[in-house]
C-alpha cells in the first residue's frame, strides 16, 4: 500500500482519495444529480487544462513556474476582443481569436523572455510582477479601447470595455458541444476535451523532437547543453514564447466554455490556481510532464467543482448553514497556495 502511494505520489494520492470521498458523499447524502456534477468536472478540466499545459514549456526551459502567464492570457483576450468587435462569430471567431491571440502572444512572449534573461535566478518573482503589471496595464487598455461593437462597451455612453463580455451568439461553448453526447442529465464535452488532449499530445510530441529535447536539456543542465552545442539562451526564450502562446490559446478556450470574456482583474486570479494544479499533478519547479498536466488539472478542478454544490446542498439540509457557503472558495485559496508553498520550500537536489 505504501509502495503504491509512493509511486502515485502522496499529494496526488491523498487528493484522489479525497475526491472519490467527495463524490461518494454527494451520491449518498444529497439529491444532487451526479451526472451533472461529473459533467461539470469534465468541463472545468477542459476549460483550464490548456492554461496548465502552458506552464510546461517554461518549466522545461529552466525558467521555473511561469507566474507571468497572465501576460499570455491578456494577449488571448486582446485577440478575442478584436474578433468580437468585428462581429465575427462561430468557428471563425473562435479560431481567429486563437490565432491572433497566439500571434500577439508570440511577440509578447519574446519580449518577456528578453526580460527574464536579464533576471536569471529571479524569474518567478519577476514573473509575478510582470503578471500584475500586465493586468494593470491591460486594464488601462480596456478602458480606452475604441470598440465599434456596442455589445462590448459600457452602456449609456460609458468609457471602455465592460468587465465581462457575453459570448452568447459568438462562440459560446462551441468546442464543448462539438460532438458531445449526453451522460445522464449532463453531457460529455467531447470537443473541449479532445482539443485539450490534442494540444497535450502536440506539446508532448514537440518535447520529443530535436528542438524539444534541446529545450529540455537546456533547462535541466545549461552547462551540459552548452557543451553539446545547444544555444541555451534561445531555448529559454523558446520556452517562454511557447508558454505565452499557449496561455493566449488557453484563455480563449476558457472563455468560450465559460460563456463570458472576463477582463480587468480576472487574469490575476487565475494564475495561482493554474500553477497549483500543475504542482498537484506532481510537477516541481524544475520538472514538468504532460501527465502532470492531465492528472493535476483533473484532480484540482474536480475537487473544486464538486465541493461547491456539495457544500451548498449540505448547507440547505442543515439549519442556518448559509454561512458556510464560502468554504469551497476559501478552501481553494488555502489548497492552491499551500501547494505552491510546499513546492517552494522543497530542497532542490544538488
Amino acid at each position: 500500500m505504501m509502495g503504491l502511494m509512493e509511486r502515485i505520489g502522496w499529494t496526488r494520492g491523498i487528493l484522489a482519495i479525497f475526491l472519490v470521498g467527495l463524490w461518494f458523499v454527494t451520491i449518498v447524502a444529497t439529491d444532487l444529480d451526479f451526472s451533472i456534477l461529473f459533467s461539470d468536472c469534465l468541463v472545468r478540466t477542459g476549460m483550464n487544462g490548456i492554461l496548465v499545459l502552458a506552464l510546461v514549456p517554461a518549466v522545461r526551459g529552466g525558467v521555473g513556474l511561469n507566474f507571468g502567464i497572465p501576460l499570455g492570457m491578456i494577449c488571448g483576450l486582446l485577440g478575442t476582443i478584436v474578433f468580437m468587435d468585428a462581429g465575427i462569430r462561430g468557428p471563425s471567431g473562435l479560431f481567429g481569436s486563437m490565432v491572433l491571440g497566439g500571434a500577439i502572444g508570440a511577440l509578447a512572449g519574446w519580449a518577456y523572455s528578453r526580460l527574464l534573461e536579464a533576471v536569471k535566478g529571479q524569474e518567478m518573482m519577476v514573473g509575478i510582477y510582470v503578471g500584475f503589471g500586465a493586468v494593470a496595464g491591460a486594464s488601462i487598455l480596456w478602458l480606452v479601447y475604441p470598440a465599434q461593437n456596442q455589445e462590448l462597451v459600457w452602456p449609456l455612453g460609458g468609457e471602455g470595455l465592460r468587465n465581462t463580455l457575453v459570448l452568447e451568439g459568438y462562440f459560446k461553448q462551441l468546442l464543448d458541444r462539438f460532438w458531445s453526447f449526453p451522460i445522464g442529465s449532463g453531457f460529455f464535452p467531447t470537443g473541449l476535451l479532445a482539443f485539450w488532449l490534442l494540444l497535450c499530445l502536440l506539446v508532448g510530441l514537440f518535447l520529443r523532437t530535436r528542438v524539444g529535447l534541446a529545450l529540455s536539456t537546456a533547462g535541466a543542465n545549461p552547462r551540459f547543453a552548452e557543451s553539446s552545442g545547444i544555444n541555451v539562451r534561445a531555448m529559454r526564450s523558446l520556452g517562454v514564447i511557447l508558454s505565452t502562446v499557449l496561455g493566449a490559446i488557453g484563455i480563449v478556450v476558457f472563455s468560450q466554455s465559460y460563456g463570458f470574456v472576463q477582463l480587468y482583474k480576472a487574469p490575476l486570479l487565475m494564475a495561482f490556481p493554474t500553477v497549483a494544479a500543475l504542482l498537484i499533478g506532481g510537477a516541481t519547479v524544475r520538472v514538468a510532464k504532460i501527465s502532470h498536466v492531465i492528472v493535476g488539472t483533473f484532480l484540482f478542478q474536480s475537487v473544486l467543482t464538486t465541493s461547491l454544490p456539495l457544500v451548498n446542498d449540505l448547507i440547505q439540509q442543515a439549519e442556518g448553514g448559509e454561512a458556510y457557503a464560502n468554504i469551497p472558495e476559501i478552501a481553494r485559496l488555502i489548497i492552491s497556495n499551500g501547494i505552491i508553498l510546499y513546492a517552494l520550500t522543497r530542497k532542490e537536489r544538488a
Binding site: 514537440f206 520529443r208 530535436r210 536539456t217 552548452e226 557543451s227 520538472v287 537536489r349
Partner: protein
C-alpha cells in the same frame, strides 16, 4: 619536538568510502613557518577543514587521529570551537563582510559593548542584556587600530571594506586573527593567490613578523618560490599521504615539484599502433588565451598529430584545464585554432563539435552529465543535437528514435562495461567510474576526429581508473581517434601518452617524452624553465 604549537597525529578522513587522508602526521613549533604543498586532491584542503572544524567534516563522518594545539588535545566540531582553542584561519575566500568597516570586520561577533538603559533593564548579565547593549564603537576602533599596527598595516580602521583592494582585505583577516589574542597557530590557505607582487611581499613580511612574535604558522601554497623563501620546513602531501618533510636548507623548487607529482605506476602494455600517416598536425593551436577563472590560459601554442595521444600536465591553476574548455568554446577565448588546416570559429561550440572535435569535461557531475536522465539519453544527447543522429527524419522537428538510441546504448554498455541496471537507469545512481564511462560513451557516440578528455580518472576508484584508461587506449588504437588527455595524474599520463606537454603560467612550458626523468618534469612544472 617539545611542546609544539600544533601536533597532528595520524589524521585519517574518508568521503563516502573514498580515503582522502590516509594517516598524516606533522608538527609545527611555536614561531615556525611550516608550508604544506601538494597537488589538488592531495588532501591539503581537507586537512585544513578538519583543523578548523568546518561543518562539512562532521557532516560526512568526522575524522580520526589526534590534534593538539599548544599541548591541549582538541577535536573541533565548529569554527568557533577551533578558534577558542587557538586556531586562527585566514581563508582562501575571505570570510569578510564588504558592507562593514575594517574595525567591524576585525571585531566580527566579538564586538565590545556598553550598557545602555534597555540592557540594564533586562538584567545585569545574560544573553539578552548583552544582545541589547550598544556597540562600543570607540573601543572597537581603537582596539582594531592596535591589531592593525601590530601587523604593520597603516590603513584606516574606519574605512568600509568594500572599497579596499583585495590585498588589503587579506590583511584585515589577519588582523582579525591577531586581535583575538588567543591564536597560537595561524593557518593561511593560499594567501597569495589573489595578491599582486607587492602585496605578496608585504604578506610574507607580515608572516615573518607574526612568527617572530611566537605564533606558529601553517601555510598552504601552490607558489613554490614563495614557499622556499619563507618556510622553515615544508611538508609535501600526495594522495592523502605525507611524502616527505623537508627543511628549508635541503629544499629546492625542482625537488619539491618532483615529490609532488612523482609516483611510480607499473608500465602498461600498450598495443601496437599502425604507422603514422603524415607529419602534418591534425590540430594546431596558436597563441591561445582563455578566460576561465582559476585556470587562465595566456598564450599557449601546441600541435596535435593525427593518431597520437597527447598528454597535458601541469599544476592546478596553471591553465591546463582552460585549454580544452577554451578550444571547445565554453569560455571567452582568443587565438587561432586550426583543425586539418581549417580555422575554427572560436566560441561557436556547435560548429566546433560539428567539425569533428569532441570533449569530456573535468566536471563530470555539473557539466558532463544529465544526472536525472537515463543512461541512454545521456549517451545520445550530444550526437543527436550535433549530428542529427537517433532521430526519425531530419530537421528541427525530427522525432527522437528511442529504439535506435536504446540499441546503441546497450551496445556501448557492453563494450565499455558500464555496470548498471539497464539503459533506462538514471545516471545519478551510478558509481563515479561508471558515470565516467557514460561520459566517454557520449563522446564516442559523436565519432570525433579528435577528443579532448579532461581529468578522466578524478573521483574514480582505483579499479575503474584502469578500465577508463584502457578504454581510451582502445579508442585510440582501434578507431584511430586522436586524443588529448588532460590530467593532474602525471603517472597515468606517462603510462599511455605518446608525448606530454606541461602547462605552467598559462603557457606550454615544454613537451617531454613519457619516459623523461622526474626532474625534467619538475623543472617544467615549477615554471622555472619558462621564467628563466
Amino acid at each position: 619536538m617539545t611542546n609544539p604549537a600544533l601536533k597532528l597525529t595520524d589524521i585519517r578522513k574518508s568521503y563516502f568510502g573514498n580515503a582522502v587522508l590516509k594517516g598524516v602526521s606533522l608538527e609545527v613549533a611555536p614561531g615556525e613557518i611550516h608550508a604544506l604543498v601538494g597537488e589538488n586532491g592531495a588532501g591539503k584542503s581537507t586537512l585544513m577543514n578538519i583543523l578548523f572544524g568546518m561543518p562539512v567534516i562532521e557532516e560526512t563522518g568526522g575524522f580520526e587521529g589526534t590534534i593538539t594545539v599548544g599541548g591541549e588535545a582538541i577535536h573541533p566540531k565548529t569554527p568557533s570551537d577551533a578558534m577558542e582553542h587557538g586556531v586562527g584561519m585566514v581563508h582562501q575566500e575571505f570570510m569578510l563582510l564588504p558592507g562593514f568597516s575594517v574595525a567591524e570586520n576585525i571585531k566580527l561577533n566579538r564586538e565590545p559593548v556598553r550598557k545602555n538603559i534597555v540592557s540594564l533593564l533586562t538584567g545585569p548579565v545574560g544573553p539578552v542584556s548583552r544582545a541589547l547593549s550598544s556597540l562600543d564603537l570607540a573601543r572597537m576602533n581603537s582596539e582594531s587600530r592596535i591589531s592593525l599596527d601590530r601587523i604593520g598595516m597603516s590603513l584606516s580602521e574606519k574605512t568600509k571594506l568594500a572599497g579596499l583592494p583585495v590585498g588589503h582585505m587579506q590583511f584585515v583577516e589577519i588582523a582579525r586573527e591577531v586581535d583575538k589574542k588567543t591564536a597560537k597557530l595561524m593557518v593561511f590557505d593560499e594567501p597569495t593567490a589573489v595578491l599582486t607582487e607587492t602585496e605578496a611581499a608585504e604578506l610574507v613580511a607580515t608572516m615573518k613578523a607574526l612568527a617572530a612574535d611566537g605564533i606558529a604558522i601553517l601555510f598552504i601554497s601552490h607558489r613554490l618560490d614563495e614557499v622556499l623563501e619563507v618556510a622553515d620546513r615544508i611538508t609535501i602531501l600526495r594522495d592523502g599521504e605525507l611524502v616527505e618533510c623537508l627543511d628549508q636548507a635541503d629544499a629546492s623548487i625542482v625537488k619539491i615539484a618532483a615529490l609532488m607529482i612523482g609516483r611510480d605506476l607499473p608500465p602498461r602494455e600498450l598495443p601496437a599502433r599502425t604507422e603514422r600517416q603524415d607529419s602534418r598536425p591534425l590540430l594546431s593551436v596558436q597563441n591561445l588565451f582563455v578566460d576561465m577563472p582559476g585556470e587562465e590560459v595566456q598564450g599557449a601554442s601546441f600541435d596535435v598529430y593525427p593518431g597520437e595521444i597527447l598528454g597535458i600536465a601541469g599544476l592546478a591553476g596553471q591553465g591546463k584545464l582552460g585549454i580544452a574548455n577554451g578550444v571547445i568554446g565554453l569560455y571567452p577565448t582568443r587565438g587561432e585554432i586550426r583543425l586539418d588546416d581549417k580555422p575554427l570559429s572560436l566560441g561557436q561550440t556547435l560548429s566546433i563539435l560539428q567539425e569533428g572535435l569532441g570533449y569530456v569535461s573535468e566536471d563530470r557531475r555539473q557539466v558532463g552529465l544529465l544526472l536525472d536522465e537515463s543512461i541512454e539519453f545521456n549517451i545520445v544527447a550530444t550526437a543527436m543535437q550535433v549530428r542529427g543522429k537517433f532521430l526519425k527524419g531530419s530537421g528541427p522537428f525530427a522525432l527522437y528514435d528511442q529504439k535506435a538510441a536504446r540499441a546503441h546504448a546497450n551496445r556501448l554498455i557492453e563494450e565499455f562495461d558500464i555496470r548498471c541496471q539497464g539503459p533506462s537507469q538514471a545516471v545519478r545512481r551510478l558509481s563515479g567510474g561508471n558515470q565516467q564511462k557514460v561520459c566517454l560513451a557520449r563522446a564516442f557516440t559523436l565519432e570525433p576526429k579528435l577528443l579532448f578528455v579532461s581529468e578522466p580518472t578524478r573521483g574514480v576508484d582505483v579499479g575503474a581508473k584502469d578500465r577508463v584508461l584502457n578504454l581510451l587506449v582502445d579508442l585510440n588504437r582501434e578507431r584511430n581517434t586522436t586524443i588529448v588527455l588532460i590530467s593532474s595524474e602525471l603517472a597515468e599520463l606517462r603510462q599511455i601518452s605518446d608525448r606530454i606537454a606541461v602547462v605552467s603560467g598559462g603557457q606550454v612550458a615544454g613537451i617531454l617524452p613519457p619516459d623523461a626523468p622526474d626532474v625534467d618534469f619538475g623543472l617544467l612544472f615549477s615554471g622555472e624553465a619558462v621564467r628563466s
